[in-house]
Symmetry: C2
Subunit: 485 residues, 2 copies
């Protein structure tokens, strides 16, 4: 029986090529912006998270003649860093296979989907038709490797067109990626500059250089050599585990009993907790992990997952997180706005569905800030500035719902609110990573954090008002004294 | 040189399992809703788009004992239809491989990503740990086939656990899908009912039955046997083609010259247009398609794509689209709200980046509509009701920016606005298909459509005001007459 339908499979590369707007490549403006973002985020993940003071060089050049004869403008983008590099054995895949990554672990990283640089490369292939060129050297290696490749869209595989290998001269390590794409520099410019500025502000330990197609050079110098503690990798927390994941953990564990399995494979489970947990749910501590995978044991497996979800295990650990810190947030806001008042807080860690997260909030008021009809909101997630889709973001939801009157702020007012969410799993709304979903736990923390800093602002503003009132009175008095005298 | 990083590949099944919120499965409420949606949308694609009057039976049952001992409630969902069925040769893949579809063609369908039912099945595996069960029979076949399968998450492949095959008794054809998942019926209920109601309203030719876990049965009878003309499949429009796509078309074409290639493989290019196009850009009509794929021809390929993008080809054809129609929109709005006034428009087709689209708008006013502080917005895309993420949608952007005063509407007002976008490619913001991006061409059309109907509403409202004023005057007169007399 035929249905007249044409059934076929699509590779994930073709999927994101056909639906490029999903990854943030909806048009030439967004595409140029997103390309810079993805490359810079990879460079930062390869430096600050690895104990290296970042040095990042970005160059965007219009390709000669790309606008002749009605052609659409195309740009050559190069981003170079001094990061850990990519081992030659993983290089072709890291840049040539969608869903290949070193970040599929429980750790706070900017990247998480294994898609970013490939989405940019695909967009380049679709609009400029040229390969990507990658140079990379790891720290330990004596060689620099080069590859020119395209992504075979139908197979989701790298097709290497050229490769090279050189002895290292100095001790250089890092990565340099060059690709060409259609773009709209005149429209993307302000967003790209804003993105880099906001990145520099919370990563004052980074040195960033941007060469623009207009021939300008923007230099963001390093202002401190103090690096944040790199985030550590962690094991899954029992509150976040599902049946599929549990099965795969049971298949791969070396533990020989259920009890050992719990202690070994999860965070927040020690010997005592494991014992109490198993007793409470009447589970056999000596059960062999593989037994749970046998046919007929589905019910037991479900009970175990439900129990893991329900039992009050310790919250996930926060040493897996790398917040910005209230000091750097305050310094950053001062530098950006030269305000009259600044305050910031870095809250203690919380968790949602087994994922630890930290919310940080900074508020700046007055001084060089232009009064606006609503707060100027600066959003960050895992140290990435988010510039698009503000109104869909949980931070916007909270900040716009706050009754600012209560904090002595009357709009139009010169008010800036910065919100940073750090997590081993930021719940982005889309793979383009532009807005964060309103997970109840995160929403509540943002509200607490904003209120905490806003109360300090209120104190400041009411003291200021009292002082002004006192001055006004003394002036009035002064004015009247002569008359009285 | 090692970097200490763990590089690995992830299958697209694992990707959407790990990031289930991307496909609309963020929590048990959304997951239950999204599961119903995806199954119903598949059933409608298999019926109304294929000339079959839809009969769809939905049943949701709570699984016995799933809430015992602190367990989380799980539901068994079954959706059965009288559609075209799935051929046995494609059955395992259609339900067991993410990114396998019969809708990867240029045609207006509800599904487009090849993901929906698999996302539901994956969620079921993760939260209930049970396989999906599919029965299907195609029209021509003498057999009914059954498969129980799970998705092998690591390989993105179906693993068939059981299969069956029976001789058909009657002439039944269609599909029945059953799966279990964790859900939250009490919270999802209103959204699911709303979804089905809104579906029924614009598909009055469908018969839909819903059995709920509470034991209720909702019956939506068929109120007409008139089916819309099924959308046809089309060829790509030259304005929407990119270099990768062009390459693949050149590789697969049977045309032996560039000119033949253009006429054969694209819509909106006939002999005369092809000739004019080739002349204008100085392209050789006799060039062999495969020549363009050779090394060193990248520049020519880019020129060709730019030219295809630029040349004023006829707009894409609209007979590939299947709008709802202004009559059905008006009937639907009357049925839902029993309003005082209704108007609707089905605009003529337009295009964005080579994709044809039609915008339809209906407005209802007064009568049974509750006054609200802003218009009640009903959004549809390719006949799918969209219920979540309203504020991110292009329709919300337009409708909330309209100055309703200008149309004699003062809020709070009893105003409903329905917007339908039909296209061979709806630019959803995410794979969960809940909101549409603000593509400038679509935004402009929505604005035009809303204004067109709103003007008619203004006419009605001002006539009504005049009449009321006249009555008021005559009453006043009547009141005074006795005194005068
Ligand atoms: N500049 C870089 N330095 C070191 N490694 C990199 C760099 N760029 C990419 N990579 C490697 O390539 C992988 C894939 O990158 P990408 O596609 O952007 O996905 P993601 O960043 O989400 O992992 C990264 O996980 C990383 O291991
Ligand atoms: N009820 C059904 N009747 C007929 N075919 C179906 C049905 N459900 C699913 N299919 C087939 O399975 C394919 C995959 O479905 P799905 O994963 O929902 O993706 P999509 O609907 O986007 O194609 C569909 O393209 C269709 O060919
Ligand atoms: Mg990345
Ligand atoms: Mg432990
Ligand atoms: Mg579908």
């Amino acid at each position: 029986g035929s249905t007249g339908e044409k059934y076929r499979e699509m590779s994930v590369a073709e999927f994101f090529a056909k639906n490029k707007e999903l990854a943030g490549f909806a048009n030439p403006t967004r595409a140029l912006y997103q390309t810079i973002r993805e490359l810079v985020e990879n460079s930062l993940d390869a430096t600050d998270a690895k104990g290296i003071l970042p040095w990042i060089h970005i160059s965007i050049r219009q390709i000669e003649g790309s606008e002749d004869k009605g052609g659409r403008p195309r740009y050559r983008v190069t981003v170079e860093d001094n990061g850990i590099g990519v081992p030659v054995t993983s290089m072709a895949m890291a840049f040539g296979k969608v869903l290949f990554s070193s970040k599929y672990v429980i750790r706070q990283t900017r990247g998480m989907y294994g898609l970013g640089v490939k989405a940019a490369i695909l967009y380049g292939q679709m609009t400029a038709g040229t390969p990507v060129e990658v140079y990379s050297a790891t720290k330990g290696s004596q060689y620099v490797y080069m590859m020119k490749l395209v992504i075979d869209v139908q197979r989701n595989e790298p097709r290497i067109l050229e490769r090279g290998e050189w002895n290292k001269r100095g001790s250089w390590h890092g990565t340099r990626v060059t690709l060409s794409l259609e773009g709209d520099w005149s429209r993307a410019k302000s967003k790209i500059l804003e993105y880099i500025k906001r990145t520099a502000v919370i990563a004052p330990y980074a040195e960033i250089i941007l060469e623009t197609p207009d021939g300008e050079i923007y230099y963001f110098p390093r202002s401190t050599r103090k690096l944040p503690k790199p985030p550590r990798e962690s094991k899954p927390h029992p509150h976040g585990v599902d049946i599929e994941q549990l099965k795969s953990m049971l298949r791969n564990t070396r533990a020989s009993t259920l009890r050992e399995f719990l202690v070994k494979e999860f965070q927040s489970i020690g010997d005592k907790t494991a014992q109490d947990f198993l007793e409470r749910y009447g589970l056999d501590p000596g059960l062999k992990p593989r037994e749970l995978l046998k046919k007929g044991r589905e019910g037991l497996l479900r009970r175990l997952v439900d129990a893991l979800m329900e039992y009050p295990f310790r919250a996930p650990k926060s040493d897996y997180l790398s917040p910005i810190g209230s000091d750097i947030i305050e310094i950053g806001l001062r530098r950006m706005f030269n305000p009259e008042w600044v305050g910031a807080v870095s809250r203690s860690p919380k968790a949602y569905r087994g994922h630890p997260f930290i919310v940080e909030v900074g508020i700046a008021y007055g001084g060089g800030i232009e009064p606006r009809s609503e707060p100027l909101l600066l959003r960050y997630a895992n140290k990435i500035p988010l510039l698009y889709e503000e109104r869909e973001d949980v931070s916007y939801k909270v900040v716009s719902s706050i009754n600012w009157r209560q904090y002595n702020v009357d709009f139009p007012a010169p008010l800036v609110v910065l919100v940073h969410i750090a997590s081993t799993k930021v719940p982005y709304k889309g793979v383009g990573k532009e807005s964060v979903s309103d997970v109840p736990e995160i929403e509540a923390e943002i509200r607490n954090a904003v209120q905490e800093v806003a109360r300090r602002l209120r104190l400041y503003l009411s003291r200021k008002a009292r002082e002004e009132e006192a001055i006004r009175r003394s002036v009035t008095l002064a004015k009247y004294i002569p008359e009285v005298a």
